[in-house]
């Protein structure tokens, strides 16, 4: 096998034009990695400001981006996520890649006017995404 080894050694490891850090970046960090994004909503846009008095601005945030292939360590994803990736890539592409979804939420306090004119202060669970994961 010496000739194969020498052939392999002669082949350039990376195209001359591309420098090393760029070359490795494509493996380590996908361009649009799964992460949290803001979306500042005002209830007047939804014409809900006649019954929602506060807050004026509401940012539910959302998760968007590509899930890297080796997701185990960075997103707190279960091992199942990597298995799903392997199935998608090696066995059956109709099985979807893992999705970028919220993993944690925080509550929201809302001040509303009820149809009879009474006023309610309420705290709702899971109204603002605070962390993303790949599942």
């Amino acid at each position: 096998g010496q000739e194969t080894v020498s052939l392999a050694l002669n082949k350039p490891l990376v195209p001359a034009s591309l420098n090393l850090s760029e070359y490795f970046k494509q493996f380590l960090f996908p361009q649009h990695e799964c992460e949290l994004h803001d979306y500042r909503l005002s209830f007047s846009q939804l014409k809900w400001d006649n019954w929602i008095v506060a807050p004026h601005r509401y940012n539910p945030r959302y998760c968007k981006g590509d899930c890297p292939r080796a997701v185990g360590h960075r997103y707190g994803s279960p091992v199942h996520t990597m298995v799903q990736n392997i199935i998608h890539e090696k066995l059956d592409s109709s099985v979807p890649r893992p999705s970028c979804v919220p993993a944690k939420y925080s509550p929201l306090s809302v001040l509303t006017i009820e149809p009879d004119g009474s006023i309610a202060y309420k705290e709702y669970e899971d109204m603002i995404a605070t962390k993303c994961t790949c599942r």
């Binding site: 601005r57 509401y58 149809p115 004119g117 202060y121």
Partner: protein
């Protein structure tokens, strides 16, 4: 795929039922559509409109609730942790009908009594009462001296539909008029939790009561003017404020998340009781996860 196709057929069948409106699937089991049961966001998403038309609330009540909101949540609507974790709902009702007023008597320092009717339709079955107060708000100077001892007499009547208005023995409460002076708004509260608790527990849809005050100067603070009666004039009818704990899944249960934060590991062990992972299996699980971590 065979099983999943079967599941999709069942699901499709459910969707095709003519009378099942999408949001009616979320209706409470007992069939009554209580406005508070569905999170208002669901209702608006499903019935499309910006919520049903609403009566305008009393301006002083709205001002008080906006001040309460600022005390309890940030501008972005995140609940602050600076208050009791027990309640996650505060409802303010204004009297929907103010009945006759019996005149007051300056000689004895009693204020005119007021007859009040509160419609509690929007309190849902999953909201448990923790505290209720009658709230008097003032927007200008009040004619009370800075310190006075008042007795509040509260008479709760049966709902209108019962033939006789059974007057329960009047329950009178002594309370100190320590007003909270904040900027130019002032208010004071009369705690009526005890008489209201049985009514709320029986999910009464309206509460009919009459309230009057008799005030005397506080001897310790104002000895020389003891004999001079003073005229007690209260502002308009009070509002009814209910502090509730909404036990539904969509409401925020602060005490629950506080407990989970304090004991994260215990909560998972707690979930996996001894029956969930017998000794042998559990220890194997432990070894495997440490190997996985390594």
């Amino acid at each position: 795929t065979q099983a999943s196709r079967g599941e999709t057929q069942i699901a499709a069948g459910a969707e095709l039922e003519p009378e099942a409106e999408p949001w009616s699937l979320l209706q409470p089991l007992d069939g009554r559509d209580r406005p508070g049961f569905l999170s208002p966001f669901f209702k608006v998403l499903y019935d499309g409109r910006g919520g049903t038309p609403r009566l305008q609330p009393d301006s002083r009540a709205l001002r008080y609730m906006k001040r309460l909101y600022k005390a309890y949540a940030t501008k972005e609507g995140i609940p602050k942790s600076n208050r009791s974790p027990l309640y996650n709902t505060v409802r303010l009702f204004t009297s929907c009908a103010q009945h006759k007023q019996a005149p007051g008597d300056p000689a004895t320092g009693s204020a005119p009594s007021v007859d009040l009717l509160f419609n509690l339709d929007h309190v849902t079955a999953v909201e448990n009462l923790l505290k209720s107060v009658l709230l008097y708000t003032f927007s200008n100077s009040i004619s009370f001296p800075s310190a006075a001892q008042c007795v509040c007499t509260l008479v709760i009547k049966q709902p209108e539909f019962s033939s006789r208005t059974l007057q329960r023995a009047p329950s009178s409460y002594t309370f100190n008029t320590e007003f909270e002076f904040k900027k130019k708004y002032k208010w004071f509260e009369v705690d009526v939790t005890t008489p209201l608790r049985p009514l709320m527990a029986s999910h009464q849809r309206s509460i009919h009561m009459s309230v009057n005050f008799t005030c005397t100067r506080d001897q310790r603070q104002d000895p020389p003017a003891q004999d001079r009666p003073f005229n007690v004039t209260l502002p308009g009818p009070p509002s009814l404020l209910l502090y509730l704990n909404d036990t539904s899944a969509q409401a925020y249960h602060r005490w629950y998340s506080l407990r989970n934060q304090r004991r994260p590991s215990l909560s998972t062990d707690h979930n996996r009781g001894p029956s969930a992972c017998p000794k042998g299996e559990g220890s194997a699980e432990g070894v495997r996860s440490s190997r996985h971590r390594r």
